[in-house]
Symmetry: C2
Subunit: 189 residues, 2 copies
Amino acid sequence: MASALRVLGIDPGLTRCGVGVVDVRPDRSAALVHVGVVRSGAELPVAERLALIARGLREVLATYRPDVVAVERVFAQQNRSTVMGTAQASGIALLLAAEHGLSAATHTPSEVKAAITGYGSADKRQVQTMVARVLRLDALPQPADAADALAIALCHGWRRDTPAGSTASGTLTPAQRAWADAEKKAARR
Amino acid sequence: MASALRVLGIDPGLTRCGVGVVDVRPDRSAALVHVGVVRSGAELPVAERLALIARGLREVLATYRPDVVAVERVFAQQNRSTVMGTAQASGIALLLAAEHGLSAATHTPSEVKAAITGYGSADKRQVQTMVARVLRLDALPQPADAADALAIALCHGWRRDTPAGSTASGTLTPAQRAWADAEKKAARR
């Protein structure tokens, strides 16, 4: 596992902030290290909620010591009522990465879906199914925020430049290849 | 000055984050303690920009030791291209307040304008003029972000429950009274 890249994926949120840590190997296979959700109660002032999110993320950073951090990008157009809290939580995630000396990338939901399923408009269930398959999990990751965090981590782990000695062929990720195969099979029926 | 409330006002932003510290006395008079802008270069990754903002805000917190923090509230509807960065910076400001054990309030731009000028749709120049008058400054605070931060601090300082022994009368702030007087004079001409 010495050559694996350990990626912390974060699906930012104020009520539920998904965190997923995966080790991605040069052959693009991946293993689950940690998955969870950092929560804060809606009855608390926003500043205290952000402090709880920060504390939870610091614990994950200290415990699992990722090499890089990937955060889902937030858009102003998204769900109006919660988008500001989501943006604030994403700011906390990016700040903590920088303060731990880690590079932090952001990926759009479409980028994540395309990396995981080969299809930028895939639904949540498709993404969860592929995440479970890639990580050889017996069950779909729950809740959705945790699964999304794993998807972001995998998306970022697969996006690094293909290292020397990699067995990856072409430009498809293993998940994309599996998805493409499944679609071909379905088309043949 | 023992009974003065020291308020740190923050006008959040990624390129320019305005900071203003004022001492507000029970009679609602106020004195300038510090005004400035924390900057980060647009060429840097967002995570590093947020770390620079955090560092600047921590310096202000450590140097001037405010009693409370007030941050301008960000809305999704505002200027689309920068609103996410502004929201992220506001998240950092609120987090740092909480981590310093300080209560943190948010005020809308309209609330701030109404508190300072008596008029929720006042333009920036009116707000700057009143801030300079209240704080007995020889010149208008520059840049605008710094003036806005002072306005937020004054708005919050005046909003606390009127303490016993206050000489304030009625519900108008000193700035609101001055503004009302000026309007009456203008109407008489």
